[in-house]
């Protein structure tokens, strides 16, 4: 590792974050920092019921309605559907509502206090229809609330034949059922946009977002305008975590509709309560496992039924389900696997993208089940894992042959060494037998996370990145991939600088603006570094090739020679640009019909260890220490990479122990930061991060993906530690003090 670091001047080094200075001086401009002349403020009237038929809309007294811009479904120039995968979700409900908080009427006025008063004065009369709120009710078709059978998508993965295993007399069969709750992304900057829209100039939107071209595509359909009439510009974005993947298409459409009708620029900024209640959250899930193991502790069959609650509309549920399905069998080799996966409809606001994208749900279930099976075999959790870790040349559940030099046993050993696992495990067992009211435990999870779009996703995306060299030799990267805090600007500049052997300061990343950058795909799926970064690298190399092909640059060159070559080339030929488009690495084959093949170009591999204390008086469970060991290919920027892990682990601590959405009739009742609790500085343990670096040949400078990985491991590791502390194998998250009290209340006395 340190050898690779020494060979390189830029990759692997903690260069300053590109937009760091702007962020610490207050100069960075987020969407609510923009003000346009004549700008007015928009607000959204939403459904208060989960499901019903709209009977009547009345505009109450005491509001100067003639001063307000009012938009309903009738005002929509194009299609009343948010274009994503299906076209089932309306921008504005016109006849039926299918979830609480569903948008029905839009309002705008120059005075934002008045627009809020007006919003409260709109009365929407809705005749209720019977709703469905749980996975079980939906699966049982208590009511059909979406399509033919409440099913957005289902997948079947079949490897070998599990049915031949259950009756064998040399296997032990263990069953388990696991649940995970919804989770709010809780980026600190709420969703917001500013829009200008008129028939002459078309539609321009500035906003906080992850995927400018998703918004672009959605607005084309909404306004029925040609693509060059729609322009989407990402402003500095105060966190996303998936929560600004699909929802910005909705709010951008709303602001644009108000701008179109009023003829004035419109700003919509959600307040915290609206953002929490109305926008997407992580899909709740229910997973059933049936596992057969031989007496010597080898997996013989895994049957997994994985169901996620998609909420009221399809949105991204099919792809969330896909990632969850593929990760459901984990980093283990098992000859016989069947995974039945389904995303079902309920009358909750649509669940959506959140870091991990289905994988944290299915991995939680699997890791808890692995602990349970180990117990049934009377093996230690680690020894059972060691006997089943997937190795190079073996196949995953989708029969992808692992061609990476994976060493899960090595990662496990490293994580145990760094955390003192074995010593603590023994010590806590002895101490917990005493009379102390605080019990301790240590536990772990072993897992993997695929980088890039699943299956043939990257082939369909056909992402493009451009690089432009100006006459002064500066290199500008043109991509729609957004900086949302994770460090896109910095690592792209590092990758290009490294490829061209130029100073980091000579490379800049252009602001994502659909009028000036090509579509490098969405900023999701741990793809920005590995997939888009590779395109940055090859587009940058294309610049050099052009200059060398024109005889302006030697094989080895100084920065001054580079500048001179760029000056001469642009003088003669104008702009010097190079574009690179995605090509799948060789031997990557995926069969969508059978759901079989190479699900991801590469996986990141990890072992996380959590240490907890559980107070038997207050039922407070706390994470006291955390060690995160992972192999993510070459690390481009050690500080940013560690920041991804630390931030992801903190979100995972919240997912496991604090963040509970209180549902009331499909509505989030605790849409505030005082009663929906994300970890504060006092709740996050020391997080110690270690990277093993095995360069991946098809990633930029050898890097793989990292962003989602740290969301997968904390929850199962923490519950495993709680199990040691309390002796109870909890099977659901979030695990709240009241759950602990219910289970342990008797044990206290």
């Amino acid at each position: 590792m340190s050898e690779a670091r020494q060979q390189s001047s830029i990759v692997g080094r903690p260069v300053p974050r590109k937009e760091g200075r702007a962020k610490v001086t207050g100069a960075a401009r987020y969407v609510d920092d923009l003000t346009l002349p004549g700008m007015i403020y928009g607000a959204t009237v939403r459904s208060t019921v989960a499901r019903g038929r709209i009977k009547n809309i009345t505009f109450g007294e005491g509001v100067p309605w003639d001063e307000l811009t009012v938009v309903t479904a009738r005002d929509i120039p194009g299609a009343n559907a948010v274009a994503l995968i299906l076209l089932d979700q309306p921008y504005l409900a016109s006849e039926f509502v299918n979830h609480p908080e569903e948008p029905i009427v839009l309002l705008a006025h120059p005075d934002k206090h008045l627009v809020e008063r007006a919003r409260r004065a709109v009365l929407v009369e809705i005749e209720p229809l019977p709703p469905v709120f749980t996975i079980e009710e939906s699966a049982a078709k208590k009511e059909i609330v979406w399509g033919e059978d409440n099913t957005f998508k289902s997948y079947l993965v079949e490897k070998g034949n599990v049915d031949e295993v259950w009756s064998r007399d040399d296997v032990l069969i263990v069953e388990g059922e696991y649940r995970t709750g919804a989770q709010e992304q809780l980026y600190i900057e709420t969703n917001g946009v500013v829009a200008v829209a008129n028939a002459d100039e078309g539609v321009t939107v500035w906003g906080s977002m992850q995927c400018p071209y998703y918004v672009h595509k959605a607005l084309i359909k909404l306004f029925d305008l040609p693509e060059e009439k729609i322009r989407v510009i990402q402003t500095e974005t105060g966190g996303g975590f998936g929560g600004k993947e699909e929802y910005p298409s909705m709010i951008a459409g709303h602001a644009a509709l108000l701008a179109w009708k009023s003829g004035q620029p419109v700003k919509i900024i959600y307040d915290r309560a609206e953002d929490m209640a109305a926008t997407t959250k992580r899909h709740p899930s229910l997973t059933r496992h049936r596992t057969a193991v031989t007496r010597d502790g080898k997996l013989a069959a895994q049957e997994i039924e994985f169901t996620v609650d998609g909420g009221a509309y399809a949105t991204l549920s099919a792809v969330v389900l896909s990632r969850g399905t593929i990760h459901a069998a984990g980093p283990y080799y098992c000859p016989n696997v069947r995974i039945n996966a389904r995303a079902v409809a309920t009358n909750a606001p649509p669940h959506g993208a959140f870091r991990g994208f289905g994988a944290p749900q299915s991995i939680f279930a699997l890791e808890r089940q692995m602990d349970k099976v180990a117990r049934a075999l009377d093996l230690s959790a680690e020894e059972f894992r060691r006997r089943n870790f997937i190795r190079e040349g073996e196949t995953t559940a989708t029969e992808q042959i692992i061609r990476e030099k994976v060493d899960m046993a090595g990662l496990l050993a490293r994580a145990f060494e760094l955390s003192g696992y074995e010593e603590k495990r023994g010590r806590f067992a002895r101490e917990n037998a005493g009379r102390g009211k605080v019990k301790r435990g240590i536990g772990f999870a072993t897992f993997m996370h695929g980088a890039g779009f699943t299956g043939s996703g990257e082939v369909f995306l056909q992402s493009i990145v451009g690089c432009e060299a100006s006459s002064d030799g500066r290199v500008h990267i043109l991509a729609a991939s957004t900086e949302i805090g994770q460090g896109t600007n910095t690592i792209f500049a590092q990758i290009a600088a490294e490829a061209l052997k130029l100073d980091y300061d000579m490379v800049e990343v252009s602001r994502p603006d659909t009028a000036s950058v090509p579509n490098s795909g969405p900023t999701v799926a741990s793809r920005t570094c590995m997939i888009v970064g590779k395109l940055v690298e090859s587009a940058a190399l294309g610049l050099r090739q052009t200059l060398q092909g024109a005889g302006l640059l030697a094989e080895v060159y100084t920065a001054d020679e580079w500048r001179e070559a760029c000056r001469r080339h642009t003088e003669r030929h104008g702009a010097l640009k190079s574009f690179s488009q995605y090509k799948a690495p060789p031997d990557v084959v995926w069969d969508d019909g059978k759901y079989r093949g190479d699900a991801y170009g590469a996986f990141a591999w990890a072992v996380y260890v959590a240490e907890v204390s559980v107070d038997l008086v207050t039922y407070d469970a706390r994470v006291e220490d955390f060690v995160a060991v992972q192999e993510v290919g070459r690390v481009i920027h050690p500080v940013l990479a560690a920041g991804q892990i630390e931030g992801g682990v903190a979100q995972g601590v919240g997912y496991a122990l604090y963040e509970r959405v209180a549902w009331r009739e499909g509505r989030m009742a605790n849409s505030q930061m005082t009663n929906y609790i994300m970890p504060t500085a006092l709740d996050v343990p020391p997080i110690r991060v270690h990277f093993e670096e095995t360069p991946y040949p098809y990633g930029p400078a050898g890097a793989k993906g990292i962003g989602e990985l740290p969301m997968d491991g904390p929850a199962p590791a923490i519950l495993s530690a709680v199990e040691q502390a309390t002796g109870v194998a909890f099977t659901h998250i979030p695990l709240m003090p009241e759950d602990l009290m219910k289970e342990l209340g008797d044990a206290r006395d």
Binding site: M1, S2, P14, P16, R17, E19, G20, R21, A22, K23, V24, T25, G26, A27, A28, Y30, D33, Q185, L186, Y187, I188, E189, T190, E236, T237, G238, G239, G240, F241, D271, R272, L418, G485, Q486, G487, P638, V639, L640, A642, G643, E646, G647, G648, V649, A650, Q651, Q672, M673, T674, M678, P679, T680, A681, L682, V684, P686, I687, V689, H690, F691
Partner: protein, 174 residues
């Protein structure tokens, strides 16, 4: 009160005398952002839950969403825009930018000001004291670890010690 009637205050803003007129119901947050165009101060909830809008009022951190603009009359307000001076960035700004303490950057101004208040009273805070001081500010990106490191490094530099981050803070456990 007539909605169109404006309040008028004089106060010290980032070390300079300032005057501003605004609708009297406005919070200090709104006055700063809307009437003084100082958009460096952010908002995350406007209910006093997240700490994002923290500024210093007479050197003490307050949540500007919970303070009326009128309450700033005759007092001294410091925002993120006032942290740097002619000599350059404040040490906290340097370390927040360089050590990964600012990811999305949205919570950063609030953290900077609360950290500045801490260091004004305690030039060598322990990790526990830093955690306690910053526990009213929410950050969803970093897990807080790099923020503590940035505060520690800035404190050391402000004490006149030549200090860089320990290798483990940069490269992780090796």
């Amino acid at each position: 009160m007539n909605g169109k009637q404006k309040a008028h205050i004089e106060f010290t803003l980032n070390g300079e005398r300032a005057e501003v007129a605004f609708a009297p119901h406005k919070t200090l947050l709104e006055v700063l952002r809307e009437d003084l165009s100082l958009t460096g101060t952010k908002h995350g909830c406007e209910l006093g839950e997240c700490g994002t809008c923290a500024v210093l009022l007479d050197g003490r951190s307050v949540l500007s969403c919970l303070v009326l603009g009128l309450d700033a009359e005759g007092r001294s307000v410091q925002t993120v825009e006032g942290l740097a001076d002619a000599a350059g960035l404040h040490p906290l700004q340097e370390t927040f930018a360089d050590t990964g303490a600012a990811q999305c950057g949205y919570c950063t101004p609030g953290f900077l000001l609360v950290a500045k208040e801490l260091l004004a009273h305690n030039d060598n805070p322990s990790r526990e004291e830093i955690k306690e001081a910053l526990s009213g500010n929410l950050c969803r990106c970093t897990g807080y670890i790099k923020i503590y490191e940035a505060v520690e490094l800035a404190a050391a530099r402000m004490r006149g010690e030549e200090m860089e981050l320990p290798r483990e803070a940069v490269y992780g456990l090796e």
